[in-house]
Structure formats: structure tokens, C-alpha cells
């Protein structure tokens, strides 16, 4: 097996808090895991779990209290290592007096491209993130989704081997999220390693080969999304309509709730076909059948416990 794309060993970060009486708050506690080359790796956790702290440590924006990290075998202190990585910060802020083309051109200057190569890359990546039409518009006129896209372009335009994305789909509309997902899948097809933090479980399910879950600065586990988040189906939801004069079959009556002009029924997965048979016998028109899965919020609540982590509960509820 070759060198891992990312190796994190006992990474710990303490912050001093308080003005007069300094106290220490541990934001990250002995984080240890590895990410393989070519993997799409999801870094999951509620707000305040330490995801952004980890990414800032890896990018050299803050310094660890203890522990080490290596990217493609090189220490994170090695500035030359940054030629091989790309980074999209959370809620990216860029120089808003620049146009998208100027920002990408500025970003590309830090790598050793010829002028012709630089121009070609800028044009190509603007097209890739769907910003060709807005290439010469100042970033101060950009929407959040457009900024996210230009942020992704500046992170990948030098063809890095490892790409770090901090909450890349957060705050985007469904179309924007789909576009970002497509870019990540595209990078995966090219053999790149993508490490992205998120609190959106469906993104992790769709995209990730493996995920790590972080809560309160501590690693809870690393594995495939199915192993870690145990996305078991909790039940099935059936939406149906009844013709005039027909009523809900007796055996199901206690479990049905009205939902607008239709009815909603929740049944265990094993009883699905039986419930459908009964509904069809009552001439019900079935509108949809959906799997009920736990949300990431459910997962985090289960993991940290409501009693032990009220602050997470508040932060997750605000999401």
C-alpha cells in the first residue's frame, strides 16, 4: 500500500479563553486517522465539533498544540506541499473588488504556469464551474452559490492531488448542491483525493467512500457511511388518497394521519406489502412510498446524548 494521502496522528488543539482568568478549551482531542489516495472522504460532525479547526490545522492557518499531520508524505509545515493541495474555506470570502477571472488569474500566479497556460486554465475552470457568463463580473455582485463555485475553481485550477473542501454544499440550493456533488465525483474519477467536511448526511451517503465522525473534538469512528452512521431504514412512509365514501381499513386506522387532502401512514419495512394490499383493497390511490431514515441530527443526538451535550443540541437545532 502506498503513502496515505493524509495522515493525522494525535492532532490536538487547545485555545485559551477568558480575558483575565485564562482557561483552556480543547477544540480537538488527539485526532488520529488516515485518508487513502483517490478516496472521497467525508468529515462529519455537528457545528462546533472541530471540523473547521482540523482543516485550518492541515492548511497551516493555525498551529497544533500537539500531534502531527502529513499530506502525501510531507509535513503540513512544508509550504511546498501546498503545490499539491487545493482548499475551499467554509463560506469563502474573496477579494470582492476582483472579477471571477481576475481572482482565478491571481490564484494561478502562485503556481509555476506560463502565461498562456494560466489563461487557458482560468477560462477552462470558469467554464467547468459554470461561470463563463459571469467571468468579468466583480465578486461583490455574486450570489452565495456563485461564490462557492468560484471558490471551488480556485481550489482545483492547479490540478491538485488532494482537495480539501470545508462545507462545500452548505447554504446552496438543490441545483447548486447537485453541481458541487458532480464536481466532487468528477475529481474522484480523475483519481484525486477529496476530503470534505459536512453536516449534511445525504451528501456523505452519496459521495463518500469513507467518513470520519467528529463530536466535541473527539473522533467517534472511521469507516464507510453505512458502517459508521448505520443508516438503517427506520420504516416506510406511504402517502395515499381515498375515493369519496371509502374509509381507512380498520387494521391501519390507528396509524394513519391526515396530510392535506391525502393520508400518511408509517409502517415497519416488513409490513409494507401487507399495508399496500390492504390499501388497494380499500381502493386507495397510492401517491408515494418513501424510506424513513434517521437524519444526521438524529444520529448526532444519539451519539452525544441529549443530556450530555446540550450545546450541540442547540447548534444542530439552529441548522
Amino acid at each position: 500500500m502506498g503513502t496515505p494521502a493524509i495522515e493525522i496522528e494525535g492532532l490536538t488543539k487547545d485555545y485559551a479563553v477568558g480575558f483575565w482568568r485564562k482557561r483552556t478549551r480543547r477544540a480537538l482531542d488527539g485526532l488520529t486517522f488516515q485518508v487513502r489516495e483517490g478516496e472521497v472522504f467525508g468529515f462529519l460532525g455537528p457545528n462546533g465539533a472541530g471540523k473547521t479547526t482540523t482543516l485550518k490545522l492541515l492548511m497551516g492557518l493555525i498551529f497544533p498544540t500537539s500531534g502531527t499531520a502529513r499530506i502525501r508524505g510531507r509535513s503540513i509545515d512544508d509550504v511546498e506541499m501546498h503545490r499539491e493541495i487545493g482548499f475551499l474555506p467554509e463560506q469563502p470570502y474573496f477579494y470582492d473588488y476582483l472579477t471571477a477571472r481576475e481572482l482565478l488569474d491571481y490564484s494561478a500566479r502562485f503556481f509555476r504556469f506560463t502565461e498562456a497556460d494560466r489563461r487557458e486554465r482560468v477560462t477552462r475552470f470558469l467554464e467547468r464551474v459554470g461561470l463563463s457568463a459571469a467571468a468579468d463580473v466583480q465578486l461583490r455582485r455574486f450570489s452565495k452559490g456563485m461564490l462557492q463555485r468560484v471558490g471551488i475553481a480556485q481550489a482545483i485550477l492547479h490540478d491538485p492531488q488532494v482537495i480539501f473542501l470545508d462545507e462545500p454544499t452548505s447554504g446552496l440550493d438543490p441545483v447548486g448542491r447537485r453541481e458541487v456533488r458532480d464536481i466532487i465525483l468528477d475529481l474522484q474519477r480523475q483519481g484525486r483525493t477529496v476530503f470534505f467536511s459536512t453536516h449534511i448526511l445525504p451528501d456523505a451517503e452519496v459521495l463518500c467512500d469513507r467518513v470520519a465522525v467528529l463530536v466535541g473534538g473527539k473522533l467517534q469512528g472511521v469507516g464507510t457511511p453505512q458502517e459508521i452512521v448505520s443508516i438503517e431504514v427506520q420504516g416506510m412512509e406511504i402517502l395515499f388518497e381515498l375515493p369519496a365514501g371509502r374509509s381507512v381499513p380498520g387494521a391501519l386506522a390507528g396509524r394513519v394521519t391526515p396530510s392535506g387532502v391525502a393520508y400518511r401512514l408509517e409502517v415497519p419495512e416488513a409490513e409494507l406489502y401487507d399495508a399496500i394490499t390492504q390499501l388497494r383493497a380499500a381502493e386507495a390511490r397510492i401517491l408515494s412510498v418513501t424510506q424513513l431514515k434517521p437524519t444526521l441530527e438524529d444520529y448526532f443526538f444519539r451519539l452525544v446524548g441529549r443530556e450530555t451535550a446540550p450545546s450541540y443540541a442547540v447548534e444542530v437545532a439552529n441548522k
Binding site: I62, E80, P89, F94, Y97, F111, A155
Partner: protein
Amino acid sequence: MSSVPLFVAVNTFRESVRDRVLYNLIFFALLMMAAAVLVGQISIGIERLVIINLGLSAISLLGLVMSVFIGVGLVYKEIEKRTLYSILAKPVRRWEFLAGKYLGLLLTLAINTALMTLGLFLALLYVDRAIGRADAHILLAVYFILLEFALVTALALFFSCFSTPILSTLYTLGLYVAGMFASDLRDAGALSSSGAVKAVTSVLYYALPNFSNFNVIGATAHGDPIPISLVWQNTAYAAIYILALLLAASAVFSNRNLK
């Protein structure tokens, strides 16, 4: 030699232009035009003196305001707005970024000062109908003003690495004012009979940036010669002081956790 500071400098200059920092030139142009027209009517025989004095003072004041107020935000603003996150994730060393920000503001100040100097010469041409070789010493005064800006900007940048803009402004202006009176401080100490007072004032004299040496506006306006030794002294003094400040700023910034 790394080209990174150059890229950062050009972008910093572009920011100043797009943020309409150079609009202060309009104020200067209006001031020079008004002075050129009025001076002929109210002062007989001292038009040149008034125009040079007023012009150089305005160049110095406007540039000083830019050095301090833009300088204190050079790094602080980048941290607050988190714009430097994506830059430092690239192969950019922190000292390179810092050097680039410094050079970028210096470039802005140099271009701004060059344009104002051009305005001053145009005003002189208007009142005198001619510009002679003797007027070249004005350029020397402008050079000293630029050295002063470079030193003030280095001070502002240093404070910008660890303090808020308001406090950095106070520190920078405080040191500027104290530095203007550095020589007086030493002279006052020399008059004292206390050895301790003499020692303290002497240390302060050497530690504070001595801005009074850069001010030759009065002498220039009166056409007094400026000794060539002062040019070398001021250049070397500013270079050493600026280098020390930039090294200190780099040491602070390179070890700082960004928020």
C-alpha cells in the same frame, strides 16, 4: 527570488485603485489650483515659497493619512474577512504575503505621491511661468517624504499583525508624534542633571523612529541646500528601521493562529 510578494503587491495596489483611494488626488489638484490662482493676488514675491510649502505639506499629510489608515488594515482586514485563507493554502509563506502587502501599499503611495508632485510642478509653472534646475531640490524633499511614508507604513503594518485598526492607529500616530520630537527629547535629557533621566531620554532617542530628520519642507521652500550626507543618512536609517520592523512583523505574523 520569490515572485510571490510581487503578485500580492500588485493585487494590493489594485485594491487601492478599485477602492478609490487615489481619489485624494482630486482634493490635492483642487488645492493646488486654488493656491496657484490665489497666491498671486495675496503674496508678492513669495509665491514660490507659499506654493512649495503648501504643496509639500499637502503631499506629506495626505500620504501620511493613507499610510496610517490603510496600513493598519493591511493584515487585520485580511484576517477579519478571511480573504487570506485561500491565499495561505497556496504555496505562499507568511512573510511573502506580508512583504507583498507592504510593497503594494508602498507602490500605491509612490504613484499617488508622483502624481501629486506633478501637480505641484504644474502649479509652480503656473505662478512662475518656468521651472529651473533649482527646482530639482523639491524632488529631494519628496524623496524624504516617501521615506517617511515607508517607515510609517512599516509601523502600521507591524501593529496590524496583532492589534485592531483603532489601537494600531493610536500606536502608529503616537510613535509618529513622539518620533517628530525625538531630538527634543534627547536635548531635554541633556539639560537634566539626573543620570537616569539622561539615560532614559537617550534610549528613547535611539529607539523611537526619528521623523524630524525627514522634514526638509521649510528648507526646500526657502531654497536652502540639503546636504548630500543627509540623503545617505536618511536612506540608511529608514532602510534599517523598516527592515527591523518587517522582521518583527513577520515573526509575529508567522506564529499567529488565524481566527
